[in-house]
């Protein structure tokens, strides 16, 4: 099969890959680049476990053709902690609040919350629930996830 070159920024690093034109973003990430932190739960854009940030906006990588990221900046769960390994406030809050159970939705939840806090650093509970409504979790009942995002927003504020 013929391949197409694709250039984009992944977790802050410029990169170029050659892929089949019909490759989905999730398969590029997981199969070609070995970034398996992004999960596939339904492969039809319904469960949100595959959420990554494209120029800061949350997208479902399981239904997005990889070529759509050409020239753009992509962030996955692997790119959230800084180079020294310091966790993002949201990651730390998920641990402190016990917001992860089986953990399968956790990367999607955290990426979604990251997009929210970038845009709205002090969301109220309703805004958090609205923003995370596209990511399904079968384990937690969402309470500790919502609380973790509140905690993360407060931590972020106190650092500034």
């Amino acid at each position: 099969m013929s391949t197409t070159k694709l250039s984009f920024k992944l977790n802050g690093q410029s990169m170029e890959v050659a892929i089949a034109p019909n490759t989905l973003l999730i398969d590029l990430l997981r199969d070609d680049l070995g970034l398996t932190g992004t999960k596939a739960g339904c492969r039809e854009g319904e469960c949100g476990a595959c959420t990554v940030l494209l120029d800061g906006e949350p997208v479902n990588s399981c239904i997005l053709p990889a070529l759509k990221v050409a020239g753009r900046s992509l962030t996955t769960i692997e790119g959230l902690a800084n180079e020294e390994g310091d966790l993002d406030e949201i990651q730390q809050a998920f641990m402190d609040e016990g917001a992860a159970q089986c953990g399968f939705c956790t990367p999607g939840m955290i990426m979604n919350a990251k997009a929210l806090l970038n845009k709205n650093p002090t969301p109220n509970e309703a805004e958090i629930r609205e923003s995370l409504s596209g990511v399904l979790c079968r384990c937690t009942g969402y309470r500790k996830i919502v609380h973790a995002v509140v905690t993360a927003s407060q931590t972020k504020k106190s650092h500034k």
Partner: protein
């Protein structure tokens, strides 16, 4: 008649274990330093950074891709099958049919009645008729399309009541009735004669999908020494191994099974991994190459087990003062195409017997009669799902209690308070509840936090113009700890090393419930070291002792006790050695936070690691092996009388809902749930179980149903099978109460399954309280709520 030999054995076990535990649990509970405290989960860092490996995350190089050809008919004979074209497709390594299964062509958690590959007949649309292994998934898909199968369709059986009719088509050779069970207590006729109020109702619940976020996957890897390694997400590695050995036709010790971290299980990954594991292993056996069998979401819905649907007919009799006197129930329990975890075959007690035992609810009733029929149909098969047959019957008895309260003109919590189990109560099976019964305490705590007295009886429209009306509801429940009957043993090994660090070997699996954190907590507490000094070895049947399945809310209690027993053998060495080194009698020594102290002279102490090193140098035993099986007794087959489970968890839930009486839409706006858990080992994780369980119960109440049309599931993906989102679940308030279980580690009993059970009827009761409409056939989606309001004579007046 009860089997006296059985009873004697049980009594012996009881006495021995009791003595052991009382000795072991000598440490005062208020002094616990690791157990009983909220700790961060051991695998959280990997989860939040995306580093935790699930089955689908393992590199695929070197693996063939497996695929299953499924039946297009719910019930049909296979007349001919031709795989030649598929075999000739380049890149195809194997195309297998029934004749290619090397050993027993059947698997199942209890009864092996499901073919690995169907030969003569198919019994549901998820049935596999051929297996393919190919170099890529695309080639495997294409190969499936080249297999030609000639079927002779048969009339499908789609209702458990139809299955019992004399002229019903027979799904299995032994007939459509898989199991019929009886519960008899007192004299049911006398009970109804004494009753002043008698009510009869029928309730119906559908098939549910587990909807764990991680689809099923199995990796089967033939080893150079001829053994077979099978890895994947699974709750029951030993059950998978037992089935693999039979299907491959080899001894159990020729199969090695390793659990990969699960993206949710909820009971479904007790059955499904047997299914995908056996099929992957048969392909690997034939090709001699590693095989990866990964199901797509739609395949998970088509193929794997579901929550049993039931039709429940109940008659209840009470005195005018609210005392219950008689309860009669009939359960038509739909098993679907295969036995799964349904049937009652001692020593494995299936979900069916659990439904029967639980059906009269957590209430003292002198006269009880239940008949429970488990029937095959041509639908997907019923398996374990959080609550294992208990949620269904709670939906029935908890709604009936509210309907009865209304008939008697009583507050529903008062009716429950009169009849609820308390210390010394006798259950419908004749079991005396002689310890750890905190049901009334959960009722009181829940009512206080929810302010029930201020809120009940005040259902009203949100405002003068709104079509939304609010109401409150209650649900009560009980749930076993352990599998019950017998054969429920749990083993643990603990090794302490010369530097004081420890390895804990356990076959209990992690699916998000937190076992990989709670078990090291118990081990660290008992050894007297810190949490970080204990590393848990992940379930691997070549490494860990038989532990049974991770089901039945049994892990913390049973494995906790096994760990305590294992550590005792090590502590004997440690304390003997410390006694010699400190010249202090053993009974004055205490181990805490990595130090061994003289209780009477705390300044006199040694580091745990120093003593461990000395033990190692002197050849003292630092290896412990623990084994614990709960005290249980079988049920009498004629009367259902006996002690099926050794302890129960209790719970009360209260909720407020808002019902739009014009559209039937329901919003749950407030929720309090109180639990008697014996002892919370990791309280934060217990809260997580409660919150997640309530959300699952909410889905059961309001939106979940596998829609079946002529035997075909219609809602295969999560776009059509709806589960609750952040916008559906309110901010749940969990309340944890602790009525000590004297047979549990620090008093603990199970919590995994209890939380969703009372949630569903609490919400249904709140809906009825808000709008007057009662939904007796689930789910209470807008259409059914709207119809229930019409049936009740229209929306309540303003």
């Amino acid at each position: 008649m009860r089997d006296k030999t059985e009873d004697k054995r049980t009594v012996q076990v009881l006495t021995k274990e009791k003595l052991d535990l009382e000795q072991l649990l000598a440490a005062p509970k208020d002094k616990l330093s690791v157990a009983g405290h909220s700790v961060t989960r051991t695998d959280d860092l990997q989860k939040v950074t995306g580093k935790l490996m699930y089955g689908a995350d393992y590199p695929q190089e070197g693996f063939l891709h497996g695929k299953i050809l499924r039946s297009p008919f719910p019930h049909a004979l296979i007349k001919a099958i031709n795989v030649e074209k598929a075999q000739e497709l380049p890149g195809v390594a194997a195309v297998l049919t029934a004749k290619d299964v090397p050993g027993r062509n059947g698997f199942g958690a209890i009864l092996p009645d499901q073919p690995v590959i169907c030969g003569d007949k198919v019994r549901y649309v998820g049935d596999g008729v051929a297996l393919v292994a190919a170099e890529t998934e695309e080639i495997a898909h294409e190969a499936l399309s080249l297999i030609q199968v000639e079927y002779e369709p048969l009339t499908p059986v789609l209702d458990p009541r139809d299955a019992l009719k004399p002229d019903a088509p027979q799904i299995h050779e032994k007939g459509n009735l898989l199991s019929s069970n009886k519960l008899r207590k007192g004299d049911i006729e006398k009970g109804f004669d004494e009753a002043q109020v008698i009510m009869e109702r029928t309730y119906q619940v559908p098939f549910l999908e587990h909807a764990y976020l991680e689809p099923d996957i199995s990796l089967a890897i033939p080893q150079p020494d001829g053994t077979m390694l099978v890895e994947g997400p699974m709750q029951a590695p030993f059950t998978v191994r037992r089935n693999l050995a039979a299907v491959l036709g080899v001894p159990v010790n020729q199969v090695r099974v390793r659990q990969i971290h699960m993206g949710g299980g909820f009971g479904g990954k007790e059955d499904a991994p047997i299914d995908v594991g056996c099929r992957a292993a048969v392909l690997a056996h034939h090709t001699g190459q590693p095989v990866r069998l990964s199901l797509e979401r739609e395949e998970v819905t088509l193929q794997t087990c579901k929550r049993h649907p039931m039709i429940m007919e109940i008659r209840i009799g009470a005195k005018k003062d609210g005392h219950l006197v008689a309860f009669e129930g009939v359960i038509y329990d739909e098993q679907g195409a295969y036995a799964g975890l349904g049937p009652v075959i001692p020593p494995a007690g299936g979900s069916h017997i659990h439904s029967m035992v639980m059906m009269p609810g957590p209430y003292q009733i002198p006269h009880v009669k239940v008949d429970a029929h488990l029937c095959y149909t041509n639908h997907p098969y019923g398996g374990a799902m959080r609550g294992f047959g208990a949620p269904q019957v709670h939906i029935a008895h908890e709604q009936l209690m509210d309907e009865l309260a209304q008939e008697l003109g009583m507050d529903p919590i008062e009716l429950r308070r009169i009849n609820a189990f308390r210390l010394g109560s006798v259950t419908a099976t004749g079991q005396v509840l002689d310890q750890s019964v905190g049901l009334i305490e959960t009722l009181d705590a829940c009512a206080k936090a929810f302010k029930w007295e201020d809120r009940y009886g005040k259902s009203q429209y949100v405002d003068a113009k709104s079509s939304k009306r609010r109401g409150v509801g209650i649900g009560m429940g009980w749930y076993r700890t352990s599998i019950g009957t017998s054969g429920d043993g749990c083993g643990a090994n603990v090794y302490v090393h010369e530097d004081g660090s420890a390895l804990l070997y356990s076959g209990i699996t992690e699916m998000g419930q937190g076992a990989f954190t709670v078990l090291p907590q118990i081990c660290a507490e008992e050894l007297g070291v810190r949490m970080e000094d204990v590393r848990l070895v992940k379930p691997d049947t070549d490494m860990v002792p038989e532990s049974g399945p991770t089901v039945g809310s049994r892990s913390t209690t049973l494995m906790g006790n096994a760990i305590i027993m294992a550590t005792r053998q090590i502590k004997e060495s440690i304390l003997e050695m410390a006694s010699e080194m400190l010249i202090v009698p053993i009974d004055r020594l205490e181990v805490r936070d990595r130090r061994i102290y003289d209780r009477e002279n705390p300044g006199k102490s040694l580091a745990f690691k120093e003593v461990a090193a000395k033990c190692m140098a002197m050849g003292k035993r630092l290896i412990g092996q623990g084994w614990w099986a709960p005290p249980t007794a079988s049920l009498d087959p004629e009367t259902g009388q006996g002690n099926p489970y050794f302890v129960y968890t209790y719970s009360t839930h209260m909720t407020e809902v808002e019902v739009d009486v014009e559209t039937g839409e329901v919003e749950v706006i407030d929720y309090v749930a109180a639990f008697d858990v014996g002892k919370a080992i990791n309280p934060k994780a217990v809260e997580g179980q409660i919150e997640g369980g309530v959300a699952m119960g909410l889905g059961y109440a309001l939106m979940e149903k596998v829609v079946l049309k002529d035997g075909y599931p219609q809602n295969l993906n999560l776009q059509d099978y709806l589960i609750p989102t952040t916008l559906d679940v309110p901010d749940i308030e969990p309340i944890i109460l602790e009525e000590e279980n004297k047979f549990g580690p620090y008093g603990a009993k199970g919590i995994g399954e209890m939380p969703n059970i009372p949630a569903t009827p609490a919400i249904l009761n709140a809906i009825a309280n808000a709008c007057g409409g009662r939904v007796r056939s689930l789910p209470a989606d807008p259409e059914n709520v709207f119809l229930a309001i019409q049936e009740a004579g229209g929306p309540p007046e303003r």
